[in-house]
Symmetry: D4
Subunit: 220 residues, 8 copies
Amino acid sequence: MADEAFANLDHDRARRTGLPEVIFCQGKTADQVVEIVGRMWQREGRVLATRASEEIAQAVLRAFPDVRYHAPARILALGAAPPPGEDAPYVAIATAGTGDIPVAEEAALTLEFLGHRVQRIYDVGVAGIHRLMERKDVLCRARVVIAVAGMEGALPSVIGGLVACPVVAVPTSIGYGASFGGLAALLAMLNSCAPGVAVVNIDNGFGAAVLAHKIVRGSD
Amino acid sequence: MADEAFANLDHDRARRTGLPEVIFCQGKTADQVVEIVGRMWQREGRVLATRASEEIAQAVLRAFPDVRYHAPARILALGAAPPPGEDAPYVAIATAGTGDIPVAEEAALTLEFLGHRVQRIYDVGVAGIHRLMERKDVLCRARVVIAVAGMEGALPSVIGGLVACPVVAVPTSIGYGASFGGLAALLAMLNSCAPGVAVVNIDNGFGAAVLAHKIVRGSD
Amino acid sequence: MADEAFANLDHDRARRTGLPEVIFCQGKTADQVVEIVGRMWQREGRVLATRASEEIAQAVLRAFPDVRYHAPARILALGAAPPPGEDAPYVAIATAGTGDIPVAEEAALTLEFLGHRVQRIYDVGVAGIHRLMERKDVLCRARVVIAVAGMEGALPSVIGGLVACPVVAVPTSIGYGASFGGLAALLAMLNSCAPGVAVVNIDNGFGAAVLAHKIVRGSD
Amino acid sequence: MADEAFANLDHDRARRTGLPEVIFCQGKTADQVVEIVGRMWQREGRVLATRASEEIAQAVLRAFPDVRYHAPARILALGAAPPPGEDAPYVAIATAGTGDIPVAEEAALTLEFLGHRVQRIYDVGVAGIHRLMERKDVLCRARVVIAVAGMEGALPSVIGGLVACPVVAVPTSIGYGASFGGLAALLAMLNSCAPGVAVVNIDNGFGAAVLAHKIVRGSD
Amino acid sequence: MADEAFANLDHDRARRTGLPEVIFCQGKTADQVVEIVGRMWQREGRVLATRASEEIAQAVLRAFPDVRYHAPARILALGAAPPPGEDAPYVAIATAGTGDIPVAEEAALTLEFLGHRVQRIYDVGVAGIHRLMERKDVLCRARVVIAVAGMEGALPSVIGGLVACPVVAVPTSIGYGASFGGLAALLAMLNSCAPGVAVVNIDNGFGAAVLAHKIVRGSD
Amino acid sequence: MADEAFANLDHDRARRTGLPEVIFCQGKTADQVVEIVGRMWQREGRVLATRASEEIAQAVLRAFPDVRYHAPARILALGAAPPPGEDAPYVAIATAGTGDIPVAEEAALTLEFLGHRVQRIYDVGVAGIHRLMERKDVLCRARVVIAVAGMEGALPSVIGGLVACPVVAVPTSIGYGASFGGLAALLAMLNSCAPGVAVVNIDNGFGAAVLAHKIVRGSD
Amino acid sequence: MADEAFANLDHDRARRTGLPEVIFCQGKTADQVVEIVGRMWQREGRVLATRASEEIAQAVLRAFPDVRYHAPARILALGAAPPPGEDAPYVAIATAGTGDIPVAEEAALTLEFLGHRVQRIYDVGVAGIHRLMERKDVLCRARVVIAVAGMEGALPSVIGGLVACPVVAVPTSIGYGASFGGLAALLAMLNSCAPGVAVVNIDNGFGAAVLAHKIVRGSD
Amino acid sequence: MADEAFANLDHDRARRTGLPEVIFCQGKTADQVVEIVGRMWQREGRVLATRASEEIAQAVLRAFPDVRYHAPARILALGAAPPPGEDAPYVAIATAGTGDIPVAEEAALTLEFLGHRVQRIYDVGVAGIHRLMERKDVLCRARVVIAVAGMEGALPSVIGGLVACPVVAVPTSIGYGASFGGLAALLAMLNSCAPGVAVVNIDNGFGAAVLAHKIVRGSD
């Protein structure tokens, strides 16, 4: 199969949706990813790749030594948007636990790649509600809050009752037994008693970041 | 079938488990329930029946006019333990919403039938966390807290982080769509990040009350 | 139980989250709803109630003849925000089929109650993709698009590839057999290949509207 | 156990169903597969084996060096039907993404083994609908379209609304989280709003090819 | 809402996909169905409506007395294609049990409406395999076989091993307990050991008919 | 449709499988059932029909006044095998609760219709294990034990550890919430730690009886 | 923990249930299994262990060189009952495919260990029904038939309609995608239209053998 | 990320909930766990860590040689509460099988770390009910019973009918096939016919211990 046949790049996407095309590495070989990174780098001048395994990352790093790789978040970046001003609106990213951080970092690094300011508020799960309350001010001044949680997935409901801005809920697969790979957190978030919580797929930090990006950009 | 054949009453149960036998009405005819109420009333001097439909309640009321029936909680009581003293230890029962109250009342009325003091704290769901915080003192002084919630089922996690006593979590079928009849709340409670939360079946206010009864009695 | 005990109104919510409290009727009696409508009308000057059955609607209409009731959407409104200007930013609401309209109307009427301009684009499912393409302009100029679909739930993915603004996906329970009450559409939307789609619960037009409201308001 | 006991070859099948027997390797040892390949090669003069692991492929290659092995599609072929004419009717095979290609190739190679002409249209997922529209002509002139997609599985619905020929939908396990191993795509395809979409099992490129073969052959 | 707004008829569909638009009644009011029937009758000269409840059927019959209604199959037809010749190719429709007949009739009546010849082979489930074997000739001469079965859904696997033509499998919701509304039959059909079985949604006789129609038409 | 077309009676079944054909009423109209009862009565001299609704039973009773109908078990019988001798081997049928009795009676009446002796042991659930132990002798002398239980479905495991004969486990849909219509009991029985427990479908008293009949008959 | 504490052998079981205790190796360490084998060998003179991994088997073989190990069936045996006579009643074991043989062998070897005669009928799946029909005589003369099948699990239904003796159905995890680890076959077997099929857990060849043993022994 | 950022220790928790903070190792790196152990050891003088893999345990042991590691239970402890008196109230921990012991030990070691007396009653599953009955006295004198079981999960129901104290049920993932990773046991326990059984997550020995600790402490 000719190289150009396996990936049908949509170079028009940035113009159409305001978002550059991003490489989803799962199900692709290392060679395929290296090839696509090359094509996008030439054409767009910046590249983001998600769900990049250690093996894929090594292959890309050999070809493009300037690539930045964040192993727990499995994210690869080459180039980026210009950094935001110090008082630019920011996206707050909160996690319930330490184990949720890789998913939160996938969101944070995507947002920073797209030129946004990010505030990290990690390990503020609802079983110690005062830890969350101490950060209420940072949450309330955000333009969007991304709430990342596994287990019972209650964090977005509590935050949704505190802040006026949109809340994006990311269930994670942290948990065991009856968490069923993040299903428990996902269902909880879909059933949030705080109205207007936006839910994305399990462990989908990237999708949460894109949604936040679209919300913030529309408000500039 | 002879009357005595269909129900195999376990009169020894009170001595053995400290709990009188209780009639679970689902799947029984009105005639069967009336018959069993009569036998238990003669022998035990107090009767409790749960999941009693309107039709069953009317049949029992015709035979035993002193029966008390609470329609939303579908519970029937005849006689009761002597009431507790004013400073007896109490069980706090909290609900996330108004729709969870029938299940909470099934628990409350069972506990009162068994001679316990109950404090009701209703409609304090986590999307308005300050409503819960205002009742923190009542929660913290309880011997057991029963937390009743549908939808995302987050209430027990937050309470479990506030109080030192055991928390009994009751998922309810309040919700729609991806709540799947209470499954979302059930899974959330089983995955609570607050350790040591006891979970019972969906809508099982009675089971929560019996568990609380056993905990309180062991502590006297 | 005293009237004031069953509902713990959160009058501070509007100030805190920018959204007036709304009555979720499921699991409440008609008397309870009438009572809460009265309290909110006195205090807030506008009232919205969702999931209102025919029976509840009749009870409220007897007490408050000015209430507007939309039966398929099961929504009750009394008062509203002032209407938006003709060139205010708008929310586009698209449905895949005719059967999805009640859920779309729950969203549309909620948004209009909150003072937003709405554009309805109904019956543009993906099996006749040209119907959607003919409305591409209206979609692309929206501040937010709410995409409502049952069955295979593909509409948000296609719209998400066309527009730059945030897309809120609402799965509906329209379908049969392996749609499992909207589960098929819900899973499809969570797995959208268009990044940044926000998903809410099955049939949750109200939640989609609140999310859109928060996004639009942040951008004013 | 004697060699002849473990596999009960159905040599009459080709005559009865128009399809030679094919070896499903999963759950068989390498030795068993080599043995069956030998028997079928002797008797039929062509052999196809699916779900062949790397280890099985190596064992067969040692015994039959002429075997062709396609690793991502896990398919082994020895001999084939004569190639089709240049203007024979063809089967179009479309994939939503790059990750779906191995399943598509299982279908394509099976069809080519059976003597059919195949047109590959890869990476035309619905989030960039114009990529699909550009290939509309190739799709519309096909005798059958096989649409292969993971994630939300929307591709068959869109194609089903464009073409007049039968559409065979193959869900794949590409995705994560709430894709539940391809369940999301499977349910979406079963609920397609485009009537008359034929669905096969998750990742079952072989089954889709056999179905297409039966449809095309009946139309000659 | 203006009448013309709720349904976005796709009059071009017949030309594009070879299939006239058909009304799916579920989720539509009787008034809406009557209105759409009228518009389609004027424009197309024949109308088919599926999932029509008794109430909808009565409303349509009052407006269009020539409509034919088949209550168990819930199907409404007005006009039809010209009848097929006596030796036209036919579609065989087999059911496992008597309870599966309404779904089979939805398929049969749709095919006859579209101008096809149909052979009905009912109540030939696999627990009495000789009943199926006695009809083997009729099955083997069909251009397509539609196999309709609830419970364990084994019929398509057995037929798929007997005939050379495509087999369309329709799971039905006949069964109880662990049939889970047709899920058992659906999963069985998707996992058929007879390769090349096409599966449609539970109880989707209409979809099976459309698929058969496309297959037969392509072979003329 | 001609009367003879809708049901394909398998009069040879009794000879082949030792079991007369039985009418499964679900999904059949009252007229169809009456017609089939008539044909079987003429030919076989005894008739059994299961899952017969009140409405069907009334229709059959009007046509065949000698029919015996057991409403909770929804079973109809006309004629029967000759009664067994007093010391014939027997099948013991145990239930966990009172609510399981209708399913147990479906089994008991089927066995009696087929000429077997039955011992009923009702309401001996495992939470009062001494009630079961008191009947240990009757259980241990049975040729087969049928154990009927809803809720946690533990009864077959305990009995399976007490007796040497085969145990047939019947899960029932008695329960609520996380019993999911009998799924909890079904899964428990399939996972019994007592080896050699035979499981049938939820609420399938008839199937259990047929299995017991085949076991007992083989041992005569 | 003292050696004797971790396993509470039930030496009385053989007398009580007619079945010697058998070691279920899953979840036990190799040392624990060796220890238990030793104790049982001393006391009972024969030992059977199931679900024995390669590692456990090697450890046991080092301690007891006479042990027989069947790797695909993961079964270990030491000693056995005396072999049956040539015309003893037999159990027929049928499989749908080659991949189901390890589960069938777990059943066959268990039965032979217990002193039964076994007839193996392998690879006779329903997509080539004539292969099954050719073995009809062996099936019909069996005292019990064990039918082992993955994928759509249809084999027990077809056999159940052919033979008069009890049929024990064993679903296997052979399959992929929507087989969900054997769930599809399990549900199919529970919903068999052939009445009186006994179902055991997925891949539970041992359980099927014990059930067959109890049935045959009761009939001697 | 600075060390102090990734874990937001809640040092106030012991005062607030009577339970020291415990490290949940899943999703944390070895370095993170070592760091947190150090901080907690300094501040609290005792440390407990659960779900600690072999790799994490080795890293902690290198830094803190006094740590005690129990590999099957995956639990790490450093320091402990003073040991209880010989006649302190105790918690009885029962398991159904040998494979359930690691989960039981997670509970037992946690309780001993917290200063409680524990009685272990292992391998007393319900298929040999007399083994359980022989230990009835130890069970009946306990302050709490923790019942640990996989497979059909029946143990808590039987114990719940024997004792007057609270029963905490822990489902385990021991089993295969239709145990679905412990789901069968979980559902059984939630549906226990013995009222007042407290259920925790699958394999959650730690949670059961914390619940027992809270119950016992409240009763001192």
